[in-house]
């Protein structure tokens, strides 16, 4: 068996995306949902292929292409992560297609659908490049690939004023954060004369380097990445954009964009770990994010907005992992987060088309569709961190790292915020099981969604009992 090299995966996905765009352009009369199925099949085969990639750890002496691209275990893991996320997002998009169609009035019933299914593939390429990037220039380029395709996706159903507002906010603030990123890279380059992260670390180890300038650059880069991962105080855009964007795109933003942001954060912080200010700064950001995300989620009545704040809250838990610099804890948490968030969004998309996005619209769901209610129950308790779900192991590893590093403040605040989490996640459970519904008709679930949701439920519980596969995948 010949081994596949890592860059071939991205090339394959890129070719897939272009092919789908071309088919979309020239075959106007086909059912556009077929494109989504082709895309899912293509991504799935790339996902299978990714398991045969031999990881090769990056070395400081690498030259040429390999000086800005690495194929270490972490990047392979997150390439698979991005592919899996994109596959599930495409499944969600098929469910969401009627909403997209209704926002393109006129006599072309399938207008816009082709692009809607093609764009996530390009986002996926961007995410896959991003998790492999070890050079600031390459980080910048792949981050832009992700961000620009998100600009389009977020405002896709643009006739809806809320979506338009979301698109504008995302565009303006994202562009601003990109500016910070470039400025920060410039400072770091100015201080160290390097853009490769390994080289920067080497230069910083030299006592004659101007560390303050490099540190300023690092803080500016942190601002840009804080925007991506929705860390306080760069979270202002999150609730509005999450609420306004088409729901599958919200799920994608909340899982894919965040995961890639954390991988980049880990890589970028690596050279600066020797500086004591770095950890203190991350601890402060983590504390603020935890407190803000969890407290602001408490009074929410709109489920999409609740999930937006919950995404900020989870960024807080992940930042605990960053403060302790435990890559495998973060990776496990993100894997768990992928499962439970996509599960919640999958149910939300189906239910929202019948009733609405408010938590009150979920009243009596247990009567109307026991399957969807159970799926949402698993999603919510996993987000809250109940044992025998993946979310619990995620929190377990994160807090294990925090206790090992004696981060008392983070642990104490963590206890309080976990308590808050139980309240706002169980609010959804309460609506589904305690309250009685206004409507009593059954909610139909199509076969593909039922399969995807069942797979997500099974995976959430499986990882909650047997986390070893993920731990093995991350072992160096």
């Amino acid at each position: 068996m010949t081994m596949i090299t890592a860059p071939e995966l991205e090339i394959a996905v890129l070719v897939l995306g272009m092919a789908i765009l071309l088919v979309e352009a020239f075959a106007a009369n086909i059912d556009k949902r077929a494109l989504a199925f082709v895309a899912i099949a293509g991504l799935a085969s790339v996902l299978v292929a990714s398991f045969f990639v031999a990881p090769n750890p990056s070395t400081g002496q690498a030259t040429g292409f390999w000086s800005f691209y690495t194929a270490d275990r972490l990047s392979i893991f997150f390439k698979q992560f991005s592919l899996l996320t994109t596959i599930f997002v495409l499944v969600l998009m098929i469910d969401y297609a009627p909403v997209v169609r209704s926002s393109f009035p006129g006599n072309t019933p399938q207008a816009g659908l082709g692009e809607f299914f093609a764009l996530p593939i390009f986002t996926c390429v961007g995410l896959m490049y991003l998790v492999s990037a070890i050079d600031f220039v390459f980080i910048f380029v792949s981050l832009e690939l992700v961000t620009i395709s998100f600009y389009v996706l977020v405002s896709f159903t643009r006739r809806n004023p809320i979506t338009l507002e979301a698109g504008t906010k995302y565009l303006v603030l994202s562009a601003l954060s990109t500016g910070f990123l470039v400025y920060g890279i410039a400072w770091i380059f100015g201080a160290t004369g390097q853009t490769n992260l390994q080289q920067i670390a080497n230069v910083l180890a030299n006592p004659t380097t101007d560390r303050n300038a490099a540190l300023l650059g690092m803080v500016l880069v942190l601002v840009a990445l804080g925007f991506k991962i929705a860390a306080v105080p760069f979270q202002i855009w999150v609730p509005d954009v999450y609420q306004g964007a088409p729901t599958p795109v919200t799920a994608y933003l909340s899982v894919g964009s965040k995961a890639a942001g954390f991988v980049v954060l880990l890589r970028v912080l690596q050279p600066f770990l020797a500086l004591p200010q770095t950890q203190r700064l991350i601890v402060v950001i983590a504390l603020l994010t935890l407190i803000y995300g969890n407290l602001a989620a408490l009074p929410q009545t709109n489920l999409k907005r609740l999930l937006a704040y919950s995404s900020i809250a989870h960024a807080g838990y992940l930042l605990i992992g960053v403060a302790c610099f435990d890559a495998s804890a973060i990776s496990f948490y993100l894997a768990a987060y992928l499962l439970m968030t996509l599960l919640s969004f999958a149910v939300l998309i189906i239910v929202a088309q019948q009733t609405g996005e408010q938590i009150a619209d979920f009243d009596g769901l247990a009567k109307r569709s026991p399957f969807l209610a159970f799926a949402m129950l698993i999603g919510m308790v996993s987000l809250a961190g109940v044992p025998f779900t993946a979310g619990f192991f995620g929190k377990f590893f994160i807090f294990y790292a925090a206790i090992a590093q004696h981060q008392t403040a983070l642990v104490v605040v963590g206890v309080i915020t976990v308590g808050c989490g139980f309240y706002y996640y169980l609010k959804v459970v309460r609506a589904m099981y305690w309250q009685s519904a206004n409507k009593t008709d059954k909610i139909p679930v199509n076969g593909l969604s039922r399969l995807a949701i069942s797979a997500l439920i099974a995976a959430t519980i499986w990882l909650g009992v047997y986390p070893q596969p993920i731990l093995d995948a991350l072992k160096r």
């Binding site: 129950l377 044992p387 619990f392 206790i403 308590g419 139980f422 169980l426 305690w434």
Partner: protein
């Protein structure tokens, strides 16, 4: 066999969720679980000191995490309690109008979680199984509760979530307190490592405090008790039976299982704090119980109060008192389940449990009032019922503790005050009985009928258990004491050869344990706690 007892209720719950006939499946599962538990009881090998019927499935070798179950005397007693109360609770559940299947599934999940926690030798699953009960409790109180069910459901859920999270932090800290090669989730491995003194005295103090707060919240230790009465008053009767009778014992079981063998220095260091808090349970909550005007609230508070005695047994850490604590855990579980079950039946007929509206019901419900009488006399601690055996062992053990000290020891003060608790519980229990079953009956209650004959079976089962172990507490003591003896005196061989050089255990604690162990051996042979 142990796996069968754990998964019998859980599989039944899943079947019921899929659509199996709810009541029949639940009854069958709980009868099977009880039968299996009785089989374990009969086939229990008294000669073996370690865990029996051990099965293990590795989960994560690098974390030394595995799904390991097994029983020793301590867990056997708890499993027996859990299976008896489960059967009684399922039996007491009548027809449920709304979501009947979900109700039975929730009950069985609570039961399976509790049994799983008692049977787990692995710390992780010990914790995780207990949490299995959290969401079912939330749903049970929220959907089928009465009174202020919304507030009660939120309060118990968030309280218990935070409590168990603190407990989780304590367990992580415990795991990390051992040097890297000794780190394991296996309680046996941890105990062996602790026996070699691999956990420092400082770490023991920190871990014990976290465990005490975590377990304390779960057991409603004063001042973390406020969730309990409200939740039990609002919960449907079967849920209150399982929660107050079985699930709450998890925290006490945890302290016995973890704190006593692994953290002797922590136990010693925080003993004074624990004594003050448990007196809060006995005296303060006892007085609050007297002031209650409703039967369900009174029962809720009384179950909080009785936790104080068990804590006293655990805090004084002598073989006699900890054995008494286990016996009382068992007995209290049965008696409070009986009382909650009967109160639930009463509420079904009267729709109220306010004392001033009740009265004279003994005339129309002779059997129920007799059974209730057994329940309250057991709860008070009358000789002949199992609670008495537990309480007296705790009082004697706690009073003996510190015998060699010159001054009046805190445990002696605590025992004296705790004895007044018996008076307090006599006051409120008898008053409740008088106001409910004695006196003149209001015209409203003429139509009330006695317990249906079918419901007399679980009542007889529980009362039988209370009487049986009230007259023969030795059969429990025989099973529990060897475990606690190895926990409190270290390994037995070590005990016989050279007791003093016992690793991390500080001389003071060792001396205390040793003295109490030896005095008990001399003075309390009547209890037959020694099996030599």
């Amino acid at each position: 066999m142990v796996l069968f007892i754990i998964f019998c209720p859980i599989v039944a719950a899943i079947l019921i969720m899929i659509g199996a006939p709810a009541r029949k499946t639940a009854l069958a599962a709980s009868v099977l679980a009880l039968a299996a538990a009785l089989f374990l009881l009969v086939s229990f090998d008294h000669g073996q000191r370690d865990f029996q019927h051990v099965t293990s499935f590795p989960i994560s070798p690098e974390w030394h995490l595995s799904f390991t179950t097994g029983i020793d005397g301590l867990s056997l007693v708890m499993i027996l309690l859990a299976t008896i109360v489960t059967l009684a609770a399922v039996w007491f559940t009548g027809t449920i109008e709304k979501y009947e299947n979900a109700f039975y599934a929730c009950l069985l999940f609570i039961s399976g979680g509790a049994i799983g926690a008692f049977a787990s030798i692995d710390l992780f699953f010990f914790y995780a199984f207990h949490e299995l009960a959290l969401i079912p409790t939330f749903l049970l109180i929220g959907i089928w509760g009465s009174g202020n069910r919304v507030a009660a459901a939120w309060k118990i859920t968030i309280y218990l979530a935070i409590g168990s999270f603190i407990l989780l932090l304590g367990l992580i800290l415990l795991y990390q307190s051992f040097p890297v090669p000794a780190r394991s989730f296996d309680i046996r491995a941890l105990k062996a490592a602790a026996g070699l003194g691999q956990i420092s005295a400082d770490a023991q103090r920190h871990v014990y405090l976290l465990l005490l707060i975590g377990f304390g919240i779960l057991v409603s230790l004063f001042p973390f008790h406020t969730w309990a009465p409200e939740a039990y008053a609002s919960a449907p009767a079967p849920a209150a039976m399982l929660h107050a009778g079985v699930l709450k014992k998890f925290g006490l079981y945890g302290l016995l299982r973890l704190a006593i063998p692994l953290l002797p220095e922590g136990t010693h260091h925080w003993a004074n704090l624990l004594v003050v808090l448990l007196l809060g349970n006995i005296i303060y909550v006892g007085l609050v119980t007297i002031a209650q005007k409703r039967l369900d609230w009174m029962l809720g508070y009384s179950s909080v109060m009785h936790m104080g005695y068990i804590f006293l047994g655990i805090a004084s850490a002598t073989i006699l008192s900890t054995t008494g604590a286990v016996v009382l855990m068992f007995a209290h579980g049965l008696s409070i389940a009986l009382l909650f079950g009967l109160a639930g039946e009463l509420r079904k007929q009267t729709n109220t449990l306010v004392f001033d509206e009740l009265g004279g019901l003994g005339k129309v419900m002779p059997f129920a009032s007799l059974a209730f009488g057994f329940g309250i006399f057991a709860a008070i601690g009358l000789p002949g019922l199992a609670n008495f055996a537990g309480e007296i062992m705790i009082f004697f053990g706690a009073f003996k503790n510190g015998w060699e000290m010159a001054h009046f020891h805190i445990f002696q003060i605590a025992t004296v005050l705790a004895l007044w608790g018996v008076v307090i519980s006599t006051v409120y229990m008898l008053r409740a009985y008088r106001k409910t079953f004695m006196g003149t009956m209001s015209e409203r209650w003429k139509a009330i009928v006695d317990l249906r004959p079918a419901l007399r079976v679980p009542v007889a089962l529980v009362v039988g258990g209370l009487l049986c172990y009230g007259f023969f507490p030795q059969s429990l003591v025989q099973k529990v004491t060897p475990v606690l003896r190895t926990y409190l005196t270290g390994d037995r061989n070590l005990t016989d050869m050279e007791f003093g050089s016992h690793g991390a255990v500080s001389p003071c604690v060792t001396k205390q344990y040793r003295s109490s162990a030896s005095t008990q051996r001399d003075g309390y042979n009547a209890w037959q706690i020694t099996r030599r």
